[in-house]
Symmetry: C2
Subunit: 338 residues, 2 copies
Amino acid sequence: MITIKEIAKQLNMSTTTVSNVIHGKVSEVSDDTREKVEEFLRKVDYVPNINARNLAQNESKIIGFALKARADKYENLIMDPFVSVLIGGVEETIRKAGYFMMLYISSDTAEIMRHVSTWNVDGLILFGMLDDDGIRVSEKYKKPIVCIDTYSLEGLKHFTNVGLDDEQGTYEIVNHLIANGHRKIAFLSDNTKGVDLARLTGYKKALEDAGIKYKESNFLKIRPRSDEIEESLKEICERSKEFTAIVCVSDLYAVTLMAALQDRGISVPDDISIVGFDDNMLGQLHRPALTTVHQDVKVKGITAADTLLKQLKGEKTPNQIKLPTHLVVRDTVKDISR
Amino acid sequence: MITIKEIAKQLNMSTTTVSNVIHGKVSEVSDDTREKVEEFLRKVDYVPNINARNLAQNESKIIGFALKARADKYENLIMDPFVSVLIGGVEETIRKAGYFMMLYISSDTAEIMRHVSTWNVDGLILFGMLDDDGIRVSEKYKKPIVCIDTYSLEGLKHFTNVGLDDEQGTYEIVNHLIANGHRKIAFLSDNTKGVDLARLTGYKKALEDAGIKYKESNFLKIRPRSDEIEESLKEICERSKEFTAIVCVSDLYAVTLMAALQDRGISVPDDISIVGFDDNMLGQLHRPALTTVHQDVKVKGITAADTLLKQLKGEKTPNQIKLPTHLVVRDTVKDISR
DNA sequence: TTGTACGCGTTATCAA
DNA sequence: TTGATAACGCGTACAA
């Protein structure tokens, strides 16, 4: 692991000169010495010591990516293709910009904050934060923050959010169900906060606009903990005959539910129609293929990282970015209008 | 961002004393001053500057996790639940041990090496390296390395490998097919190196032990690039009538293939039996549920990280760890023996 | 028990 | 065009 100092010594010049060549400050150096240094550098393949560089410049070239997992959903989080695609998009963008990604998964906001300030990462991408979590982090941590899928009006004063028009997404797909003659439509989710709330709101709005009354009993709550999910699915399947269609808050749940239904001899879409949200491989590979709301998760990751990089360069960015969704009609909705 | 120097100044003592308290070197400090410092530390919640610490100690507390993706499989890699579960296992273990994970995905070994030596990470976990890739990295990089799923006898002199008894896995599942009366059994994969080769070998061995001759034409090659996969699947589906069963090298391919078959009116398992390898959510959620070889990917990640951590502590570890597999019989194999 | 002073590898300032 | 030298924040050997 050769250092600048050592190179300077062997070449009989000062560290300044070597450093200047390394950083392409050509104007400061004569062609002659420049070539000499460059040749030497190639020979020994010098790698800068990032710690020293960061210490001197008071920056880290690290972007932190913290995923907060609800304790009861950790397993689900990490298995969901959504997450890996998101990581992929973020990582690729960060890497190509010459930054590095430090990944951190935790269900404890305090732990995430400690991690972040230990490494003084240059910027932060947050996923899975609920409302004020993001604010708490941003109050403590004074550098750029981009959140993904966080719903918080108050938060937008503190950080940029990259999200989706979730409400519009479910609004459209519920309208699609209604257009196919459905009126007894349930909504399945494991909570009613953040993204899930927005999707629920879109669902309610579509019902309302069609003159269908929303009842509490339309909400099917699934419990994701691995020791509860079977029981939970059983209850939901038993109640499925109350409805002609179920809107699932994610493709993961939609496919999970379809498997459970099929195991009980309930056929999709003949006995009941199912739709999801995300359009990931789970729904694409399922047969019948899942009718769902498409979102481009990779683009979401790229957008979040890009936005952060812009902020690091001092560019101004909007504090709210909503990516579009669109309906993908496949085979899990039956037309019962005639 | 308060520094030790500043704290010392405000407390009217030396940086050494403050530093000693921080590091719990109690014997060096009087109870009195210790308490004074500790109280002050809590008040200002001091966070050490990692760059300075690393520079001084020549360590980083970072463990690098580099995933190498074949250029034509990048998309597949990042979508495969296998990868996210692996990341989850590694991350959790690293975090709980007080280390940090720097994640790096690339299809270029040279780029990975540059990354690794720039950050002088304390240890390295490598996934997706083919044979001598790992050796090349280890020659350059003198700290502990743990590879995941790398097949290389030569490599084991240089690093620890955490893998699977892949050969045994396919051996068992092919025997299961044979026991169910199958003799015309194809093997589907996109390459014949590393893990895929081992699984292919187990498949061949099972055929051989049953007195079935292996022919080149039994190998179904799938091309994973998104612009080729459809064409590729079409060819495979057309050839499917030559066989009564297809052994897929992964659950991902098994489920992909089943969707393609079903789209062409070919029914699993009635017209053809399909088995996979991995036992991930894709196969579990599919109906009919996939008969496959189980491996515990999270444990794989945990084991890899644990092994590396042990090496960092100077403990001796075996240079080859093979995790067990077992057969999971579900619904995609038809008994045609009678 | 406490403090001084130096080294870690780099960048940046300023003088030669 | 080049070279000393300080500074970044921390850890530590050694002196007081």
